[in-house]
Amino acid sequence: MIAQNFEYSSPTSLDEALRIVAGGNAKILAGGMSLIPLMKLRLAAPEHLVDLRQIPDLQGISEERGSIRIGAMTTHFQVESSALLRASCPLLAEAAAHIGDVQVRNMGTLGGSLAHADPAADYPASLFALEARVRLISASSDRTIALGDFLVDTFTTAAEAGEMIREVIVPVEEAGTGVSYQKLLQPASGFAIVGVAARIRKAGGKISMARVGVTGLGPMPYRAMTVENLLVGTAGSPEDIKKAASVAAAGVEANSDIHASAAYRARMAAVYAGRAIQAAVSRAA
């Protein structure tokens, strides 16, 4: 349970970190809640770790013209407890509170979790519902892409060699929007068997906007647009919600493992979609 030898750098500026990462041999350490256990088991044996913890540019949560920018190295606990996020983007704060356990939330980071791209991670459900964008930087580039373009496949992202996540951008929630994240958790790991995030806005007694993100069900998290389309224009009655939630798993090849069969996962996706939407509807003004 001891990792293989490796070089360790802990740069204090973004430029320095980008220079090291551009070299190609270094693996980024962004909290280490997935990477360090893999290294201890010797499933991963990077030659060089670059710890991003001491870089001020990757920290912090700030609001600017209707958007909130969250630095990649912001810990789950900081997301969960941020006064700004709790007031202006409560869905993400709620999702962060569901991650792992206290130790994981104190060490693990938003950028680290996204870059790892675990198909059952909590954040992507909410980030899909929020239509979040991811800003990627390298020594020679700076681009901002939609979450759906960033997540490519299981454990696979669009980040290229030399690139790292600088920040994640979410919208400031409009007043009156109801949000909820509901999760069936696998008790041993804390990962979602399925997790569903919902954002609902109402106008004139009807649902005028619906966003639904799902994690844990298939090879990668996704935005459930068929569910959204079935919700918009309805009054959001329990029957409306049940009907819309029933297609949460439609067209997705569900995962199967010792914790949950594919059929059970798909069924739970509908159940938890129903719960998340119901809670969001009841919170929407």
Binding site: L43, P119, D257
Partner: protein, 145 residues
Amino acid sequence: MKIGGAYQLPLGRDRAYSLLQDPAILAGCIPGCDGLVRTADHEYDMKMKLALASISGLFEGKVRITEQKEPRSFRLGVEGKGKIGFMKGEGLLQLADKDGGTEVSYEGDVHVGGTIAAVGQRLLDTTAKMMIKRFFDKLAEIAGQ
């Protein structure tokens, strides 16, 4: 773990079948495969570098093709062993004409053991599916060239 699925290839059935028997093509399609070395008829030694998320490891093993019924079906066996664990998979691949191309359906069993299985149980199914998809995506890509 049972696996199964189908994949549509934009190729005629005879061509799809012969590509799937070609060690150079197989080597190019098996994710991380460094090459296949023939040891007997339809039997090859394989070296494979797995790199997924932060996990990386070298596997050494064999690829074996049996029960060939050209151009309808054959059985493909893949096994590998490395420091981080071992895997052994066997499946029946069937080829059928469909929509002007060929549908390859597969059904089989995969066993994964060692450290990687002990800690990765939650993700084995997803990962196996992804690797199979990459295999066929690559095959379709090579075939299109």
